[in-house]
């Protein structure tokens, strides 16, 4: 054993066991190759890159790497240190510590994909995600989540088009432009032969809800699906949901509803008002905002073979095993997706956001029926309170004051300031104001979409209102 530490330049890398001195030579000898270069014999010499790599210097020690990461990330300001009212698809909800623990376990937050044979616990957790979400939705089929709510809705619309063999979808005028852009991508430009036409349905200006007359006028026999959200992008509750579903069904179209699952302790289950396919975000179910990296979207439906056969992704089913009385879990209809059928599969699939299924399973199990009822009641109460207090500030008008769940539109036309100016002033006082929706073509003027959740106390809301008064005075 040598008495001196090895010189720095030849030290092996902590992330690569075979970088230890001598190991590669040993393996080359067993392979019978003269050099590492010889193993790359397939690559013609003129394919090798000529430009040398120009990367920032290695932070080879963990200590330097951590310092770099932490120093950089501290340049962010957070919704923990500031009072945040941004929502619009990424919401600040409480994440229970147990969710963080389970999701962070290396067995789950793993480097591997994990095959069914080796990962029974993971499979079961996935099934429990679908089962619990199904209980909230009152629907029997829930797919493992896809990339986002927008992607889920895009897939759902394509499912509907496939099932109905029609190529038009009706969506609300007051849609989230972010989600709508994704949906348009999924529906293809009109130049494509297989494009699905996206047609807007007007809103009732007094309530923000869908204009049923406009809907009726557009609901022809070419409509594959009606898509709407409940609560909708601007926070309004769609009380006409059952009527919409009835109209759609009568026209032979599918009803696709986007729902926020955290509302389902207090809001009716979409399975109970006629939804055929339901989509929604998984981020409210125990996933941190992560600058949008917490996004994920679910798709659910009734347990009808037509629907099941048209899913694009992974359906986890409970199943018996060779041992009497035991159950396990596996993929139902595994061959219909693009892994099995390439371009002939349903849409396409790939790595998704399955870790958030684990988060969601834990989250829902912690809340139970009473927890969902409590959190829903708390959210809607705090949001209404915020709307009320803000509505009392001179220059501020709440657009639809009594119809929202956790988000609502605040209009500043009478304030003499733009939303951008107001938000700058709020930010200087440690408040992140609502999302500026003035430029989204929604016809709501200088307006911001405020989001209030269970994390906001009455004192927080009073602080917002007081600061707003200050800013606008």
């Amino acid at each position: 054993m040598s008495t001196e530490p090895r010189p720095t330049q030849s030290r092996s890398h902590p992330w690569m066991a075979l970088s230890a001195p001598g190991v590669i030579d040993e393996m080359l000898a067993e392979i019978g190759a003269p050099s590492v270069e010889a193993l790359f014999e397939q690559i013609p010499q003129d394919h090798y890159r000529k430009t040398p790599l120009d990367l920032p210097p290695a932070l080879s020690s963990e200590m330097e790497l951590k310092r770099d990461l932490v120093t950089r990330l501290k340049r962010n300001e957070t919704c923990e240190d500031n009072l945040n009212f941004l929502g619009a698809g990424v919401w600040q909800h409480h994440v229970p510590a147990i969710v963080d623990e389970v999701v962070g376990r290396t067995e789950f937050a793993t480097n591997v994909w994990g095959s069914y044979q080796s990962d029974h616990g993971r499979n079961q957790t996935w099934f429990e995600f679908s089962s619990q979400l199904g209980a909230l939705l009152n629907l029997d089929v829930v797919q493992l989540p896809v990339y986002s709510w927008g992607c889920a809705s895009g897939h759902a619309i394509r499912m509907a088009a496939k099932i109905t063999e029609r190529k038009k979808v009706l969506v609300p005028q007051l849609s989230d432009p972010e989600r709508l852009s994704v949906i348009r991508t999924y529906c293809q430009p009109q130049e494509m032969e297989s494009a699905i036409e996206v047609v807007m349905v007007a809103a009732d200006p007094t309530s923000g809800r869908l204009d049923l007359n406009d809907l009726k006028s557009k609901l022809g026999s070419d409509v594959a699906a009606v898509y709407f959200e409940n609560p909708a992008y601007l926070g309004t509750i769609e009380t006409g949901a059952a009527e919409i579903a009835k109209l759609a069904r009568a026209a032979g179209a599918e009803t696709i509803v986007g729902v926020d699952p955290i509302s389902l302790g207090v809001m009716a289950a979409p399975g109970d008002y006629g939804a055929d396919i339901v989509t929604g975000p998984v981020q409210p179910l125990g996933v941190h905002m992560q600058c949008g990296g917490g996004a994920g979207g679910f798709i659910a439906s009734r347990d009808d073979e037509t629907y099941v056969r048209s899913y694009n992704g992974f359906l986890v089913s409970i199943a018996p095993t060779l041992e009497e009385g035991q159950h396990a879990f596996g993929l139902a209809c595994p061959h219909q997706n693009s892994y099995g059928m390439r371009e002939y599969g349903n849409d396409w699939t790939g790595n998704s956001t399955y870790l958030w299924a684990i988060a969601g399973a834990v989250y829902m199990s912690l809340l139970g029926p009473d927890g969902f009822a409590e959190v829903g009641r708390l959210i809607v109460s705090q949001a209404r309170y915020a709307a009320k207090l803000l509505g009392e500030v001179p220059g501020v008008r709440i657009v639809w004051p009594d119809t929202q769940f956790k988000e609502f539109v605040v209009n500043f036309d009478d304030a003499g300031k733009t939303v951008a100016e107001i938000n700058d002033a709020l930010r200087a006082k440690g408040i992140f104001g609502g999302k500026d929706i003035s430029g989204e073509g929604l016809g709501v003027g200088q307006a911001a979409l405020y989001c209030v959740t269970e994390v906001h106390t009455a004192a927080d809301i009073q602080r917002l209102a007081d600061t707003m008064k200050e800013v606008l005075s």
Partner: protein
């Protein structure tokens, strides 16, 4: 653990998470019953009612019943990497976890800076001019390419004409599938004996109808197409866009530049190649990069630097539109940045060397096991970081196939191998990949297990066929998975179909 399904656990009124009632000033201000009656929930969702501890214990038990990264996984096409907990913990900090994507850019300089730096790292590795991270995985990045191609051809006024995507029959399924979902007609080129399609086939396939070509190289058999530069030349001559699916980048990191080979765009999988966790299937990132010519068509936002300030550029009038909301799975980008910084240029190049050495060592040892056959056995050159193998000979001899092996491997604490996306090309396929993570001892252990099961296949085939024997559950009876009367994707459905709960009919078909 003999762990029940969570839907069976608990007791009426059990609580795992409590929320306070609204404050009295709130209640007196807004009252109760705030949900309009028609939309108010009247039933109680059938969720478990358990304590916080029971939820914790249940899911920790399930985590222990998950091999995760605890075994040895030479899982082809997935490139097992070490996922540094340093970067994992950094991203769990409130400085990233509690950040909203719509915050003002002044409050996001930390994360925008990291994204921009990492963009620069990928530019250097690929020669491309701009990267975005919106795509939630490799397939989504391929989809991004198809959306970009649509926007490009639409901008040129040729979208009605450029309707085809050309690829190899051996390319990853996400390429043909996303192209088809984007509305393109897919042209698959068949493989020749050397393991890749012929240049002539390509020449015959491309035309003024070709919108784009999408290729991996090396492919999942570990075979490198030495004519790739010529392919790109031919395709571009026909006006097509060329997309390099760099899923198998690991063996050529620092050696090839997609741009120098002529490609217009490429994608990297941050959750495979760049050390972010795969996490059982995402959240992941397909980093999409392209040339300046294509950059105007990118989905927004794009992170740009102006002076010392980073900002989100949303002003791309020709943008193809979004493939997903927001900017991407930001924590995974940070982890990939951390991986690249922790490795450095030298480390990245070394990793590529190691993964190819390790793969060839693995091939050498596998070749010594009787009953296994390498794919395209005429190709004598050393393979890249993975190789497709076949259990064909053994299956003919013993009746034990690749699925049986996968079932049995888990009994040894070894992650079952990856078979193949194209089981029709090679009989009883499996696709091991050594990568740079595993030690020689790990690889030896893995191969020893394969050799052991080969022996078992000869001496005790029934035992192998009925595996696993050493796992929390026995072999699954798969017939329910294709049977609408039996499959059950939720506990509701299970109660209705299997347990015969007559109450459980709502929400069914």
């Amino acid at each position: 653990w003999d762990e029940p399904v969570i839907m069976e656990m608990g007791r009426p009124g059990g609580r795992g998470q409590i929320f306070p009632a609204p404050e009295s000033e709130v209640i007196s201000s807004v009252g109760g019953d705030l949900i309009p009656g028609v939309m108010a929930r009247t039933d109680r969702p059938e969720l478990p009612e358990i304590t916080e501890f029971e939820a914790q214990r249940h899911y920790l038990h399930l985590s222990q019943m998950t091999l995760g990264m605890m075994g040895v996984s030479l899982f082809g096409t997935c490139t097992m990497k070490y996922n540094s907990k340093t970067s994992e913990y950094a991203t769990l900090r409130p400085e990233l976890a509690e950040v909203h994507p719509y915050q003002h850019e002044d409050t996001l300089q930390g994360v925008l800076g990291i994204i921009h730096e990492f963009d620069g790292i990928l530019r250097s590795l690929s020669g491309m001019d701009q990267f975005i991270f919106q795509a939630g995985g490799g397939a989504d990045a391929a989809y991004t390419m198809t959306a970009l191609a649509r926007a490009y051809w639409k901008d040129k006024g040729l979208l009605g004409q450029r309707t085809e995507m050309v690829t190899s029959a051996q390319s990853h399924p996400c390429n043909p599938a996303t192209a088809a979902a984007a509305g393109f007609k897919v042209v698959n080129l068949p493989l020749e004996e050397n393991g890749y399609p012929s240049l002539d086939a390509l020449k015959a396939a491309v035309s003024d109808k070709t919108a784009l070509i999408m290729l991996n190289n090396p492919d999942d058999m570990g075979i490198y197409n030495p004519e790739i530069k010529e392919w790109v030349r031919v395709a571009k001559e026909a006006g097509a866009l060329c997309f390099y699916d760099h899923a198998n980048f690991n063996g050529v990191m620092g050696k090839l530049s997609a741009r120098e080979l002529g490609f217009d765009a490429c994608m990297f999988m941050l959750h495979k190649t760049f050390g972010a966790p795969k996490a059982g299937g995402g959240p992941a990132v397909g980093a999409f990069g392209c040339s300046d010519d294509l950059a105007p068509y990118l989905p927004t936002p794009v992170v740009v630097k102006e002076g010392d300030h980073y900002r989100l550029d949303n002003d791309r009038p020709k943008s193809a539109g979004k493939v997903r909301e927001y900017w991407g799975n930001v924590p995974q980008v940070v982890k990939a940045y951390a991986w690249a910084r922790g490795m450095g240029a030298e480390g990245i190049q070394l990793a590529s060397d190691i993964s190819v050495v390790a793969n060839n060592y693995m091939d050498k040892r596998l070749s010594e096991i009787d009953g296994l056959a390498i794919s395209n056995s005429d190709v004598k050159a050393h393979r890249m970081e993975m190789t497709r193998w076949s259990l064909g000979p053994l299956a003919e001899e013993t009746g034990i196939g690749t699925v049986d092996f996968a079932n049995r491997m888990a009994d040894y604490g070894i992650d079952p191998w990856w078979m193949s996306h194209e089981p029709w090309i090679v009989a009883e396929p499996f696709t091991p990949e050594a990568g740079e993570l595993w030690s020689k001892e790990d690889i030896d252990l893995w191969i020893d297990v394969v050799a052991k099961i080969v022996e078992e296949a000869r001496t005790d085939p029934e035992m192998v066929k009925s595996a696993p024997h050493n796992q929390p559950v026995a072999q699954v009876k798969g017939d329910v998975f294709e049977d609408p009367s039996q499959w059950a994707m939720t506990w509701r459905a299970y109660k209705r179909k299997v347990m015969g709960d007559a109450q459980a009919d709502r929400g069914a078909a």
